[in-house]
Amino acid sequence: MLQKTSAPHVSAPGGISRVMLWVAAALVPGVLGQLWWFGPGVLIQLAWCVLIALAAEALALRLRGQPVEVGLGDCSVLICALLLGLTLPGHAPWYVGLTATLSAVLLGKHVYGGLGHNPFNPAMIGYVVALIGFPIEMTRWTHPDAAVPLAEVWAAFSGALLPDQWTAATALEVFKLERGGMYEAEFKASRDIFGLFGGRGVEWVNALFLAGGLLLLLRGIITWHGPLGLLGALGLCALIGWDGGSSEGHGSALLHWFSGATMLGAWFILTDPVSTSATPWGRFVCGALAGVVTYCIRVWGTYPDAIAFGVLLSNFAAPLIDYYLRPRVYGHGRGAGRADE
């Protein structure tokens, strides 16, 4: 249906697929970092998730009687699958990725009406389903120093049970569980899981995702509001809970920024234009909400990381946040056009 809107129009070539391919390109450094520190499993997970996601998307579009080429051509399902694949541990067996991807594409996206209608980030729906459904398989992250042969990864992917000699608690988990009362230097020396400023290995993966996110920011594909809200709120909470770095504390802001999935979540997941708030300051509030939730679960909750829960909760709150933070319409007073006025 042709819709006429008044000028001025801003037009950009390429549309959705161009945006999505830029996002994919910005993910490359982080993927390489994850490949370096966590072994070839990440590539297997990515390929598997993309394969399943494309098949599920094609099936769903066909069932819904929509043109398959158009749906697959906008590449949005590709980004969903890539983000989901990055969150799965390299040693996860095939059925974890299968369940997570099917949940993401079918239950997270198409049940609500496809691209543009999903209230939640589909990749995070898939991740949370996998996390709750397969709690043991989802902990199969290898220690960043372990050499991981491809044959072992392939065996794990096909469902074989492996000795867990390569896995270790992450920096975030150590801070949550450790109650020794050690000084900072002592504490960091006692564990081989701390890096220069964050978790070992994960800090560089996070830094590379940060670089990719800044690329998206420079290209104008995302705005700074969401990431700043998340990182700002997380940093502020960490600063309040920081005691200088002993094992009794909750970790510094740097540790929280450069551990777990912080940068991936802040720059690539929270900035999903469909599920987050539609207003600039709404995105900031969404990010801040996700940051606070993440910090609380990281410090007091049962899960070691909580970016997914934070993002899903802020997705949930986005319509309400939009309602209160509607920008002023040019020529009207504040709050013009609200339902109650």
Binding site: T99, L107, V111, V129, I132, G133, P135
Partner: protein, 224 residues
């Protein structure tokens, strides 16, 4: 006005079409035994209260009919609850608060208000039987599917009722199905499946339009 079996079980199934009584349906369908217990209790309350409402119809003033229905349903539920406590204590304990909450099940109040109060006791009994069986069928299917996939067992806890032992196929299952979110997702898929089947049958029944066939004008004579 009578309710046919197909109405209660399929065309206006209380759980899949009218979407009534979803709270107990979603909450206790995490295992086959719980679902069966709830199905029997709801069916019994529905049948007894529908007949009572139809019998007491001349005595109930129009203005206070709803409080009167609730009183009838609450009395019936209390009776069923005491019976379950006496004869099926483990099931009574497993279902917990959801047995007294049958009083607030809108399926029962809905049938009383929409049907039983306008008809004879016999018709009300038939309606309650088929509607209750439709609700029970959905409960059982949901309970069986969620228990089988979520916990890897089927009929676990039958021994508590002295009915033999259930099947144990795996030590664990896909946990999200046992959680409340899994209840919503499974019910949604069940409703979608029912609608899809209905659509397929409807298409088969309507005669196919042959390509190239032309419409014949029958309403008026072409003045041509």
């Amino acid at each position: 006005m009578t309710t046919r079996p197909a109405d209660g079980l399929w065309h206006s199934n209380p759980a899949l079409v009218q979407l009534l009584g979803l709270c107990p349906l979603l909450a206790v369908s995490n295992s086959l035994v719980n679902a069966a217990g709830m199905a029997v209790a709801t069916l019994a309350v529905l049948m007894i209260s529908s007949v009572l409402v139809a019998l007491l119809r001349p005595l109930i003033p129009q203005a206070v009919r709803l409080p009167a229905f609730v009183l009838i349903i609450a009395s019936t539920t209390t009776g069923i609850e005491l019976l379950m406590q006496a004869y099926a204590l483990p099931l009574y304990q497993a279902l917990g608060i959801f047995i007294p909450l049958i009083v607030t099940n809108c399926l029962i109040l809905g049938r009383a208000e929409a049907f039983a109060v306008r008809t004879t006791p016999a018709a009300a009994l038939a309606d309650a039987l088929w509607m209750g069986l439709g609700f029970a069928a959905v409960l059982l299917v949901l309970g069986a599917v969620r228990e089988l996939l979520g916990a890897g067992t089927l009929g676990d806890g039958l021994a508590l009722l002295g009915l033999g032992s259930g099947l144990r196929l795996a030590d664990s299952g896909f946990l999200p199905l046992l959680l409340p979110a899994g209840a919503f997702v499974s019910l949604g898929l069940l409703i979608a499946g029912r609608n899809a089947l209905d659509e397929i049958w409807r298409r088969r029944k309507t005669p196919e339009i042959v390509p190239g066939a032309r419409r014949v004008r029958v309403t008026s004579v072409d003045p041509g």
